[in-house]
Amino acid sequence: MRLHPQDIIVFVVVAFAAYYLIRRLAFSAQGHSGGACSKCTCEDKKAD
């Protein structure tokens, strides 16, 4: 099967989205709110 440039763009976008999600969840697993809330504590913001 021949790869089209569109396929490569889509692959990169999806891979980046998946990487971002995993990174975000891993950050939560360390006990940080992940900057999900503007009212998080100072130490959280620093960690972000």
């Binding site: 971002y20 809330c37 009212k39």
Partner: protein, 662 residues
Amino acid sequence: MSPARFRVALAGNPNVGKTTLFNALTGLNQRTGNYPGVTVSWHVGQWDLPGGGVELVDLPGSYSLTALSPDEDLVQKLLQGLEGPAPSALLAIIDASNPERNLYFLSQLMDLGLPTVVALNMGDVAESKGLKVDAQALSKALGVRVVAIRAHKKDGLQALAEAMERCVGEGKAAKGPGLPLNGAAAADPAVIRGRYEWARNKLADVITRSEVGVRFSDRVDKVLTHRVWGVLALVLVMGMIFQSIYAWSQPLMDLLEAFVDWGGKLILSPLPAGILKDLLSDGVIAGVGSILVFVPQIAVLFFFIAILEDCGYMARSAFLMDRLFAKLGLSGRSFIPLLSSFACAVPGILATRTIADRKERLTTMLVAPLMSCSARLPVYTVLIAAFLPGRRVFGFIDQRALVLLALYCLGVAVAVPVAFLLRKYMKAGAAPLFLIELPGYKWPDVHTVARRVTEQCREFVANAGTIILAVAVVVWALGAFPRPQALFDGFQARRQAVELQVASAPVKAAEGAALDRLEQGELMRQSWLGRLGRTINPLFEPLGWDWRVTMAALASIPAREVVIGSMGTIFSATGGDGDSGGLRQALAQARRDDGTPVFTIAVALSLMVFFALCAQCASTLAVIRRESGHWGWAAFTFSYMTVLAWGAGALVFHAAVACGLG
């Protein structure tokens, strides 16, 4: 910015204007509110004194250095240099309308022996109570510099900076009553009496009192803290807020819908048909666009929350709830964290740091996520708008606003027995005594309200552009792959057959569109998402859900509002145009394999109830873990809330079907 020369700690009782002063001195925007316990952590900013910048640390409010709650413990550690470098000087802020109690804490601060400047705030409030505190006389009595300020008006800040500059230049240590500061001796009744005695002596020639009539605040409080009228007023206020969420935000939402639709067409029209166009239309635009249209509702909700916080009503509602909470073994002290959780559970859980009793704190933390946070609002409103008629009750109350109010009340109603059971399980005793200082009413500050609304809208949009976008793209990919060639060939053959057999152009177009939808549906069914969804779906069939609803709900584990983006992606891929109006239509038109509608009123209700009670928020679970110090409590919260949400969802679905709403 030049490096800070030294560190100054800003300390005082709760709700005396510390953070307002901190923001005014440093130009930062830390959150303020007219009730105790808003600041539970410390913030650092640079304060520019005439001789150069210094580091100013805003501490949580505290009544004493004898730590009871985690936030007071933090104050003690920071002041004594046990957490971070010890401060070189102190800026103590005191409330002129309550000088004796404020001087009790000041006596402890002065016993630390640091160069100290006192900021005398709220002189205007004191005068309305018939009190006048002479700053010069107080300065003479205490032996430290005292500067009268009005933090919210930024009055007296220059004089304060000059006083601090001179104070640190001299390096003269403050001298308090010299009573014990640490250990059991500090809490000895004789020591406490000694500190109050010292405060009274210092104030003896400083205060002048005059007679004032019954104050406006006291007159209003007679109604708002009344056990019947007060509760009625609270329900009325909440009802008005929900009514306004619909009435005020709809025109702006329609405008945003049209904008998203227009923007989508602008981006998509030059693109050739293909996988990239599908990703943009079904993944990005349908996912992110469907959630962005809710920004006006978030703005309206936080507009009211900010007004209630700033005018002083929050403390009254905590006082009202104390009676109810005491029956469950909780105190009104738990109410403020729970009330904050209506905006977002993360600050709500952080606010439990003001609770001294460990078991009460843990119970509050574990039920806080049951309060309907702003992330649930889009889920409720999209389903209510799609499936519930906007009829009027008593001619003026919007039925949809009533359902919304009921969903918010559901969280509280469920939290009550859960808290009761948790307290029983933890073998906790009776509710500790709750004391709260009711701040005077004041007109909400326009800047504070505007800042809170903008902050929340910005955060909502940032979430849409990050986590919601990422989930929408991943959900789209799971729903779009694999792409079996045989399936495309089969549909191509059917299209050719229609082309040959049907003569009428409109019929041909209609058949072609129907085939496109069928092809998209089949592609989704055969995709990884479809296979996974149909495997898991038997678990959620008791709630009346189709596999697509199940997948959208499961994809929202990182954050609840993601479900809207995921539904936008999943249902627009199988019909509909992706924006919220389109999403509502797509949801209403979605069909199961047997041709019956995916969504009925019963399914919509079960989905809303599920989302009212589930724990789909990674940030909340992370904060529970950090604040409780154990992953076990986060896992417990996720498990009990999921079981509760599933059970209540199934119950509501079957009850609604029995009532003929299925």
